[in-house]
Assembly symmetry: C2
Homo-oligomer: 297 residues x 2
């Protein structure tokens, strides 16, 4: 099964273009409906509409559908999680953190709007996120609560990754899992849980989608580490080898390239297995996880 993790020709992710367009519209509509200073609104729109795969909101919507729910009932949760993701990118890009001036070919928020506005726009997106989540007709307050809990974990993961603060006596392996499960995994797992909750899923379906989300959350980051370690910058579409230069704890550093590929395969199977009992309703998420396991940028 080595073909499953070997680099493949790039393909577009199997994401429904109509759903993607609906997410973009909902993001814009929510921000335009708020009473905000116009410059703050513009900075928030810049942060949210700067492109990207929309993986998290799509996971929310696909998970809701896999749980038998309706897209419109989950859309406020999809908007909410993308706001949190956008906030985290805006703050991570700041000079005091990653100091990135470009993201997806556009100037980052602080480059376009100044550092003060970027800090405040990130804050604003974070405070708006639970307000959007609360609009879900089923489990709105539980969804907002899960989102803020995952956000706290994501921030903790960012601290572990860049500023340490680990509990004493942890192995490198344990540190690595702590970073990955929190920094990237928390929001991806949360996306799937939010979708299930927004669909009013039963406990069994919620547990299935939670296992699925947890597996792909970690898998996503291991694949990212592999891309950083093995691809050329031109192919990956971003600077690569940065992790090694920065002395960061990554899967390839701790487990080697082959060990990391085996881990991707293990997590891919775990995610697919979690969906199996959902039958045909799980098909779209299964295609998505197959794509994510093979992605090369």
């Amino acid at each position: 099964m080595s073909a499953t993790t070997a680099p493949q020709a790039d393909a577009a992710p199997p994401l429904d273009p109509a759903l993607l367009a609906a997410v973009e519209s909902a993001l814009t509509a929510f921000l335009n409906a708020q009473t905000l200073p116009e410059n703050l609104r513009a900075a928030c729109l810049h942060a949210v509409l700067a492109g990207g795969k929309r993986l998290r909101p799509m996971l929310v919507l696909e998970s809701a559908m896999a749980a038998g729910g309706r897209v419109e009932d989950a859309m406020p949760a999809a908007v909410a999680i993308e706001f949190v993701h956008a906030f985290s990118l805006v703050h991570d890009d700041l000079p005091a953190l990653d100091n990135d001036s470009m993201r997806r070919g556009k100037p980052t928020c602080h480059v376009a709007f100044g550092e003060a506005m970027a800090i405040l726009a990130g804050d604003c997106l974070l405070s708006l996120a639970p307000l959007s989540a609360a609009r879900c007709p089923f489990n709105g307050s539980a969804i907002g609560h899960e989102l803020m809990d995952a956000t706290t974990r994501m921030i903790a993961g960012q601290v572990y990754d860049t500023l340490q603060g680990f509990p004493e006596g942890l192995s490198e392996q344990a540190k690595l899992e702590l970073v990955h499960h929190n920094k990237t995994g928390a929001l991806l797992e949360c996306s799937c849980r939010m979708g299930a909750l927004a669909a009013g899923a039963d406990a069994e379906t919620l547990a299935r989608l939670t296992s699925f989300g947890r597996a792909i959350g970690l898998m996503f980051q291991v694949v990212d580490d592999l891309i950083d370690a093995t691809q050329t910058a031109e192919h990956a579409g971003k600077a690569t080898g940065k992790d090694a230069e920065a002395g960061k704890l990554t899967y390839p550093v701790v487990h080697g390239i082959e060990g990391s590929r085996r881990e991707v395969e293990r997590l891919r199977l775990q995610a697919v297995d979690a969906l199996a009992p959902l039958g045909s309703r799980g098909e779209r998420l299964t295609k998505l996880v197959e794509f994510l396991a093979r992605r090369t940028k």
Copy 2:
């Protein structure tokens, strides 16, 4: 009634020391109970425990009691609003915003922990706030929702104050009210509403405490403007005259010193009137508003 707004000998605010101690304990206990990197926890504790009047959490608890509720039912809301207040101070102090290196005689968060950690600690406090609010046994999710709504308004107010973004065609007076009602007023009004909600107050009592909160929210900022415009730095305990130097829109600039004092008096009476129907249950809040109207630092 000129004595009501003239500078008086300083006195301690009429805040119950046992309640204050309970707030400090609850703030610490909540942060210590979270799973966080130790350096992030330390930065959050530094931000939250750096002193201060605890006006917002005390307003939550006093409003809950004025509405006939219990302190313990409102404490999670008190913790939540102080987290939001602390987050806003940490981010406002950053070099890209106010660039303050000391607050209440202690180094600000970014001076003590570095700028990256200060950004992330502020984010963390903001994401934790609704998680604390949700623990209120009555109206937990409504309380969290009101808090995030007020937080968005506070951020909008900070943008208006420092980066403009006003709707076109506003008078100076209208701009001033937009800044003050949002930047300071939103959280103070929210404190009183959260207390009432946490007490399970009826609609009439909630409306009373909302009017009270709205009046003192604006009054607090007008008094602040007066202190900046009229007191020496030594007396006020902080740099004064900064607003005028910065060309900021303030009540004394738009209405003059005497006009601003009349506005304080008008708002003081409005606040006291709002409490009148609560009878003896409103006494402690009445004493607090009398103190806040006369404070000189």
